[in-house]
Every structure is written in structure tokens, then in C-alpha cells.
């Protein structure tokens, strides 16, 4: 087991946990449910981000950035900036696993 694998696994776990949290925040912000439930938080190239299917990207951009003469509603931006709490614990736990597997505590 190498550290990259463990880190990616930890990120995937975090993504699974954050997807329902993100959806709840989007719903609370007034985003329509049919759009919200197509959005997921995923691990992409070692980072966590909200994934948007291509077919609804335009609608999501309108919600996020605002339509013409309409205010923005930056749910994705706020979420990606703020919802990293708890990741430290996940990473710490993951790296402890690596350390144990490598015999650091023997």
C-alpha cells in the first residue's frame, strides 16, 4: 500500500460524505431539486470538486453566476471554499493506516 493510494481512497471517502451535504446546501439556497440531484462531489486528480454533467452545465452556470439582470447564487464556490472541515481527520487516519502497515509502530 503506498501513500498515494491511501490519500486517494481518503479523498473518495470524503467525496462520498460531502455529496449529500452539498446537495442539502444547494437545496437550501433555492436550487431546483432536479438539477441538484445530478450534482456530485468527486475526487478529480487529487482534489475534491463538484462535478457537473455537460448537459446541465449551462443551467448550473445560470444558477451559480446569475442570469442576465439576475443576482448570482454561488453555492458551488462557497461549498468548495468552506467544506474542507473534517478532511484533516480523514487524512490523518489514512496516513496512520499507512504508518501501521509500514511497521512504524512495531
Amino acid at each position: 500500500m503506498n501513500t498515494n493510494t491511501v490519500a486517494n481512497d481518503a479523498l473518495k471517502k470524503a467525496a462520498e460524505r460531502l455529496t449529500p451535504e452539498f446537495r442539502q446546501e444547494a437545496l437550501n439556497a433555492g436550487w431546483p431539486a432536479d438539477i441538484v440531484y445530478q450534482l456530485t462531489v468527486d475526487e478529480v486528480d487529487g482534489n475534491l470538486q463538484v462535478s457537473i454533467p455537460d448537459e446541465i452545465r449551462s443551467k448550473v452556470d445560470d444558477l451559480e453566476y446569475g442570469e442576465v439582470n439576475g443576482s448570482s447564487n454561488r453555492v458551488i464556490y462557497r461549498f468548495e471554499k468552506s467544506h474542507t472541515e473534517g478532511l484533516d481527520d480523514i487524512f490523518e487516519s489514512a496516513f496512520e493506516d499507512v504508518a501501521v502497515n509500514l511497521g512504524a509502530f512495531n
Binding site: Y65, V68, Y77, R78, K81
Partner: protein, 190 residues
């Protein structure tokens, strides 16, 4: 911010904080809207301790022998969306050029002079995102650019405490006195 075209060499770009009435904006392309989209406690920049200086962080003129002490400020990130609108492609490119000039390598600064005019702080700014959102509106081109800008800020704990202070008692004068000349007191109900 100025743009130019065949009719005007120096056309000002109007700026609003928040969206103005539609009638106003439709008459005055190009324009820019600035919206505050997030206020976030930036815990990753938090440090603790107590600081001392002679001008209370630039807010009071220094007096010999007087020292001010205060806790380390709480860092905050203020995020703004800056959206530009224009009908003319030349205006659009001019706005993009000037915005990029403000954020070389995604990084800029915001000049913040103090109230006394004795000191100036330059707050760090970060260009967190840029999105081109051109569209056709009523058969006409509308060039839109959305910039996401983060400005670092801070607030002292004492400011926060004062902002959250709870009213303990409310004192009301039931009998009105010292009525200014020309005003008539409201009669008391039994």
C-alpha cells in the same frame, strides 16, 4: 474603467454594487456589477497572540507615551463576483484587458487607506475564477464575463464582541422634557 469605440474615445464603464433596476442597465452598456457572494472565516490564516502599537492600528493619531494593545485579528475572506456586460466586442476585450491587468498571475491588491489618511494597507486579492458567458439576448450579442475575486480581510475580537453585545436594559423617559422650540409633545395615553 474606460473603454473606447468609434463614437467615444473615453466611454466610462458604470459600476453598481448589486443589481440596479433593469431600465437603468439596459440603457447604459457597458457596465459592471459587483456582488458580495461570501464572507468566510479563514481559519487557515488564524494566529493568536497580543499586539501593541502607538496608533491603534492606524486608526488614531499616535501620542507620545500612549500604547494600544489588542488581540490578533480574526482573518476573513470576502468573496465578490464581478460581472461585466457589454454589447460591443471592443468594449468586452477592453474590460477583459483591464481586469487582467489588475490580477497579474491571478494575484492583485486592493488599496485601503485608513480614516486618518496616515497609513495605507494593501489587501491581497486573488482571482479565484473567470468564466466567459457570452449569449444572444433578443437577437443581439451580449458579452458577459464573470470574475470571482477573494479579498483577505480581518476583524479584531473586540470589534466582534462589540457587534454582538446584548442589550441589558432599556430606559425610557415616560415624561418628555426639553422639547425643542416649535415641536409639540405626543400626549401620553393613560
Amino acid at each position: 474603467m474606460l473603454v473606447s469605440d468609434e463614437k467615444s474615445a473615453t466611454r466610462p464603464v458604470k459600476v453598481w454594487f448589486g443589481y440596479p433596476d433593469i431600465e437603468v442597465t439596459t440603457q447604459t452598456y457597458p457596465y459592471i456589477i459587483i456582488e458580495l457572494v461570501d464572507v468566510r472565516a479563514a481559519k487557515e490564516r488564524q494566529s493568536t497572540g497580543r499586539m501593541y502599537d502607538s496608533d491603534n492600528r492606524g486608526t488614531i493619531a499616535a501620542v507620545q507615551g500612549v500604547t494600544y494593545g489588542y488581540d490578533m485579528p480574526l482573518p476573513y475572506d470576502l468573496s465578490y463576483q464581478i460581472t461585466s456586460y457589454s454589447r460591443h466586442p471592443r468594449h468586452d476585450r477592453a474590460i477583459i484587458f483591464q481586469m487582467q491587468q489588475k490580477f497579474p498571475s491571478q494575484y492583485g491588491s486592493l488599496e485601503v487607506p485608513n480614516q486618518l489618511g496616515t497609513e495605507t494597507a494593501y489587501r491581497h486579492m486573488f482571482l479565484d475564477g473567470f468564466l466567459k458567458r457570452d449569449m444572444i439576448e433578443e437577437g443581439r450579442r451580449l458579452f458577459r464575463n464573470a470574475y470571482t475575486v477573494r479579498v483577505v480581510s480581518e476583524m479584531t475580537p473586540s470589534t466582534a464582541n462589540n457587534a454582538l453585545s446584548t442589550v441589558q436594559t432599556v430606559e425610557i423617559n415616560r415624561i418628555t422634557t426639553n422639547i425643542p422650540t416649535g415641536l409639540i409633545p405626543v400626549p401620553h395615553l393613560p
